[in-house]
């Protein structure tokens, strides 16, 4: 079973080498592709030096497009499953088996690694404001779909070929993670959540600031609602 780990990265020269090395160490059975989202720094070079396959986008177009690029690579190269793994060092390579196992066993179609399922020692949780935002989105999702997903914004997720194909056809832009859940649910696919640990961002800057937060809290609920109302 060919399995791919998609690592979207934008200006992550400080963390990308460590990320790739950890992936090779903890998950040697999977292939790694780093999708360099038009980084201005040395991300591409460093990722290549650590031994990863790198796809470089000619300009920055956001996480949605970067992940979709990686998934198209997965589709075109016949991978049976893929996972998203952020290039900033927040995700834990040792937990990859936890999200891949239910998918590879056929128990679910999308498996999300959640920071909020267990009180795991040493795990990093986002600050209060972000936690509130995540709770709000999670509640909206629940009210619309009945799906009880706690970590709706977690990009740490594994998916099978059916999901890969769907995402290649349509993957939301901007803040894709919550909307993608509703999209898959509407297609009748199964979504599961498992507890994982995450780390604090090791380098670089987070893409969410105050103005961004307002845009986020308007745009994401709206997108979820519209996605819910789509027929296909």
């Amino acid at each position: 079973m060919k399995v791919l780990v998609v690592v979207p990265a934008y200006n992550e020269e400080k963390s990308i080498e460590g990320v790739v090395r950890e992936l090779n160490r903890h998950f040697p059975e999977g292939d790694v592709v780093v999708v360099n989202d038009g980084s201005a720094d040395e991300t591409e070079k460093k990722a290549g030096a650590a031994g990863a396959k790198v796809l470089t986008l000619p300009f920055n177009s956001g996480i949605g497009n970067a992940v979709q690029t990686g998934l198209r690579y997965a589709l075109e190269n016949g991978y049976s499953a893929a996972a998203q793994f952020d290039g900033d060092g927040q995700h834990n390579a040792a937990d990859l088996h936890r999200i891949f196992d239910p998918v590879l066993k056929g128990e679910t179609d999308l498996c999300i690694g959640s920071r909020f399922l267990e009180d795991r020692e040493g795990g990093f949780r986002p600050n209060r404001r972000r936690r509130f935002g995540i709770w709000l989105i999670s509640t909206i999702l629940f009210l619309l779909s009945g799906l009880r997903i706690l970590d709706v914004t977690s990009g740490f997720r594994a998916m099978n070929a059916a999901v890969i194909r769907l995402f290649c056809d349509h993957y939301p832009t901007d803040y894709p993670e919550p909307e993608a859940i509703i999209y898959l649910h509407k297609q009748g696919l199964r979504i599961q959540e498992v507890p994982v640990t995450m780390f604090e961002r090791s380098g670089g800057i987070s893409s969410i600031n105050t103005l961004g937060s307002i845009y986020y809290m308007v745009k994401v609920p709206m997108s979820i609602l519209i996605s819910h109302l789509r027929r296909t």
């Binding site: 000619p58 300009f59 177009s61 832009t173 901007d174 308007v218 745009k219 997108s223 519209i226 789509r230």
Partner: protein, 117 residues
Amino acid sequence: MPRLQILAILFSVALLWITFELVRRKRLREEYSLLWFATAFGFLGLSLAGQRLGVLTELLGFRLVSNTILVFGILFLLGVVFALTIAVSTLTSKMNRLSQEVSLLRDKMGRGKDPGP
């Protein structure tokens, strides 16, 4: 309720509905839809303002309430057009970049300069 106000409300609701439908059918991207939602909501707010519109008209020095609605309508549209012009500029840059990549890729693949029909 005066006829103008009813028309304005209907128009705002229609605009809201059209925008919503276009996004739902994936004909309009969410990022651009926000401008139109803001415009539609702004217009709806104005049409529901009623008496306050008269006060605003006096304040702004216009003779007719319809002038106030018109001017705000134009301002909103100006904002939308401006934002779209900026978006188009960005897209043009990206497209140029992509075309460069394509030509360099074609070169790498050993294909000719003529892309054919």
